[in-house]
């Protein structure tokens, strides 16, 4: 997946080739939370690990009144507070901070973009960044289109020399129509190959390992289909409530916040066909085919195949927590979903008839994300002295977070003269087999963008395809009376009604 810097012969044959061309990253919303918590710690860490070139520079673009030095001090404080690599080394920081610049500017003022343009030219001259730019929109989505237009008007979107790329954060619209409008607004200025829609789930090591697990091992792919798989459960559970995101979450809800992006991407990686190569186009093309093969849940099916919920007060991890409607900033009569469970089908030859169950929620008992592939029961129960419930089907669980790993449940005979069987699990854990901690998802994704590798970023077609699945659900919900919220207590696995989605009287895993 790496893109090599071909013009530098010194790089040839190096084991570590993922060092991008010198470039400037312009961060819109540079004084905001995302920049402080995620972007700057990730960039500093990449620098410290020698994964960024010497001339790498950052321009912070934000309304807050600051000069370069104040911006540098503020970013140092952020790295100290949110970085995970221990104390900041003074000299290494100073060397990194020489490339940090700040422009106190308003995203709606054309003259500020003229200032940005001249600042970027200066940096090109001083630091050899050769016109290469990444524009990172760490701002609310409502500002995306305006900034993109201003970049275009100032001649900053298309490169006379070097390359220009745009990174945007979710949400990518709030329904199919708005996603299309956003994509159209962006595509008037940037070509699709310049646009990097970041979904930090895809930067996680285990999500990437899913591809390796499926396509580098010969034993799984032959049974990865409707003939052997009974159902697939994908769970993304959070223990936290709405925290300080009430304003956003009230408009969004669980379906938009988690399913449209994270879960649909995980689903696509789980179900996709083997790509012709690991190139971005091939991988993203196969994921898109999966999303397009999922029929939207129209009309009554939106009811029979979805369950939504909202948490009431309860206990999570030994702490008493309030219900959603009592959280700060939340409407006391809110009808926002904090939990959603879906049953989807993928209508292709591999998966026809296999239900894919997706669920996500806040204030669930554990924080975890996993994919559970349940295989079909053995066709003949030879061990008839064993109660049927002890003959559980094989289950392959891929844990994405925390404690990343893979476990396989199978049945074994208990030692002794009698033929008693019971399920056992065989575990692989990243942390025990590979002692090193992975790079953060943001480090991986920022580096990939600078390297020009969009494999782990969402394509506009995939974003629209995911909205194409979810928008009919949102419309159906909007036309109905809201369920009696709250309908699950904080610290439980969601509304009891969610079990009704499962076929054959099954129930959700309680991991």
């Amino acid at each position: 997946m790496a893109v090599l810097t071909v013009e530098n012969p010194l790089r040839e044959g190096m084991r570590l080739e993922r060092t991008p061309d010198p470039c400037v990253m312009v961060i819109f919303g540079a004084s905001g939370d995302l920049t402080r918590r995620k972007l700057m710690p990730a960039l500093y860490n990449l620098w410290r690990e020698r994964l960024l070139p010497a001339g790498f520079s950052v321009v912070g673009f934000s309304r807050t009144d600051m000069n370069d030095q104040q911006f540098r001090d503020s970013m140092k404080e952020a790295v100290e507070q949110f970085g995970e690599q221990g104390p900041v080394d003074r000299e290494a920081w100073e060397s990194f901070a020489e490339g940090l610049f700040y422009l106190s500017a308003h995203p709606g003022h054309p003259e500020d973009y003229a200032s940005l343009s001249s600042m970027l030219e200066d940096i090109d001259r001083q630091r050899g960044t050769n016109g290469n730019r990444v524009y990172y929109l760490a701002v609310p989505p409502s500002s995306f289109a305006g900034i993109v237009q201003q970049l275009d008007a100032a001649g900053l979107a298309q490169a006379e020399k070097g390359w220009h790329r745009l990174i945007i954060e979710k949400p990518f619209g709030h329904d199919l129509q708005s996603a299309r409008e956003l994509n159209q607004a962006i595509s008037k200025v940037f070509h699709e190959e310049q646009v990097y829609r970041i979904d930090h789930y895809l930067g996680k090591e285990t999500v990437q390992n899913l591809l390796v697990f499926r396509f580098a091992n010969g034993i799984f792919e032959p049974i990865w289909n409707r003939r052997y798989v009974d159902n697939v459960q994908i769970t993304a559970a959070e223990t936290v409530g709405v925290e300080n995101r009430a304003a956003y979450y009230e408009e969004s809800g669980a379906l938009r916040d988690m399913v449209q992006n994270h879960l649909s991407q995980v689903l696509a990686l789980t179900a996709m066909e083997p790509p012709a190569s690991m190139g971005a186009e091939e991988v993203r093309g196969e994921k898109l085919k999966v999303l397009r093969a999922i029929p939207p849940l129209m009309g009554d099916r939106a009811n029979s195949c979805t369950v939504r919920g909202q948490y009431g007060p309860g206990w999570v991890d030994g702490k008493e927590v309030p219900g959603y409607r009592s959280e700060p900033g939340v409407n006391p009569n809110s009808t926002t979903d904090t939990y959603v469970a879906l049953k989807l089908f993928i209508e292709n030859w591999r998966w026809a008839g296999v239900p894919f169950y997706l669920r996500t929620g806040k204030r669930l008992p554990k924080r975890l994300t996993e994919i559970a592939i349940q295989f079909r029961q053995a066709p003949l129960l030879l061990f008839n002295h064993t109660p049927t419930e002890q003959m559980s089907p094989n289950l392959l669980v891929i844990r994405i977070q925390p404690d990343e790993g893979i476990s396989l449940k199978f049945t074994a005979k208990q030692p002794g003269p009698a033929m008693h069987v019971r399920p056992v699990t065989m575990d692989f854990r990243y942390s025990t087999s590979f002692g090193v901690a992975s790079a953060s998802a943001y480090e991986r994704l920022l580096l990939d963008c600078m390297l020009g590798d969009p494999t782990l970023f969402a394509h506009r077609d995939a974003v629209e395809a995911a909205w194409g699945i979810l928008t009919p659900i949102l419309e159906a919900w909007a036309s109905q009376t809201t369920p009696a919220f709250p309908n699950y207590a904080a610290g439980t696995w969601g509304p009891a009604a969610a079990d009704s989605l499962l076929q054959g009287g099954g129930c959700w895993r309680k991991p």
């Binding site: 044959g13 410290r48 010497a54 000299e91 290494a92 404690d403 854990r429 087999s433 590979f434």
Partner: protein, 373 residues
Amino acid sequence: MSSTSIPADASKVEQELRHLWRQEAEKSSAGPVLCSRTLNLIVYCRNCADVQRATGFLDPIISNHPCRAIVVSPAPPESQEEIHTEVSASCLTSHGGNRYIGRELVTLAAQPSAHARLASIIRALVLPDLPVFLWWRDTRSLGSALFRQLSDLAERIIVDSAGLEDLHADWPSLHALVQHPGKAISDLAWSRLTAWRQLIAQLFDGQARASYLRQLRRIVVEFGNESGNPKVPADALLLAAWLGRQLGFKHPCPAAAEQGAEQHAGAWELSSGDSRLRVELRHGKRPGSGVTAVFLTCGDGRAVFAVSRCQDGKGLATRAELPGQAPMRRLVRTGDESASRLVSSELEILVRDVLYEDVLRLAGELLPALSAG
């Protein structure tokens, strides 16, 4: 973790390891104990003191790579046993808080007369279906009968050419290793150059900078030796050879020392078509052992690129001086360069390092013009 002395017999070793696992499982109050091993690591040490050092290095290596480690050394002269065997196993704790058996250590100290038996025991102790790495810490015995027997078991052999006492005399044995078609070689001296190579390469990233590569006319590699040994360290020779190789220069001809160059250790003129490149090794004044600085100068001398070790020895500083531009400097902490860290990185790789093999060959061509020190 304590070691248990047992008879030198592979089945007894396995039996003792199983016993140790059971003990660990019984001690565990937090659920089952996992067993996780990803490779076999055979470590050959120079002597008993070296076994102590190597065992110290092994703990961090094994936390990254749960494995069965077999540490081999010559038995001390006073030893009565033909092969003295000790076994230990212990649990590690993962980032997720799980306890797991990932550390199995078998220590074997053998009399020279028992080498055939020793090799047969090791062969039986190697875990099947997992890669075998041989870390040979005694560069003087590369090519010995025991080395040949153990290297036959290994997919990858890890050596450290910094330990070669006489480059002229010992280089052929190093070179012989890479001739073996079925073995991959790791050289820790080469691994220590990774940060240097990366930073030198970064100086020429981007089209504008890359154009200076075509104008390079002179490369100086400075080295130091804190032990006072005047000999050229292997990494300096490897770095010079790497630069020549990457830039497409071949056919090294010995060149004369420049006037007043008291620190001269060797110089060559390499050619690529009509272009000539002077490569020079010299004793530097900076503190530290091995490579301490590299200077790359373009034709008219106005563009100079440099990478040098920081005064505190914990990082590298880069400098680019280009016509019409303010000098651009950067400091990068190189982090942990201990043997543990370096070996740990090598254990992640199974394929041959073709670049290293090429560089080793070119370094061999540079050797004749190197002063004996």
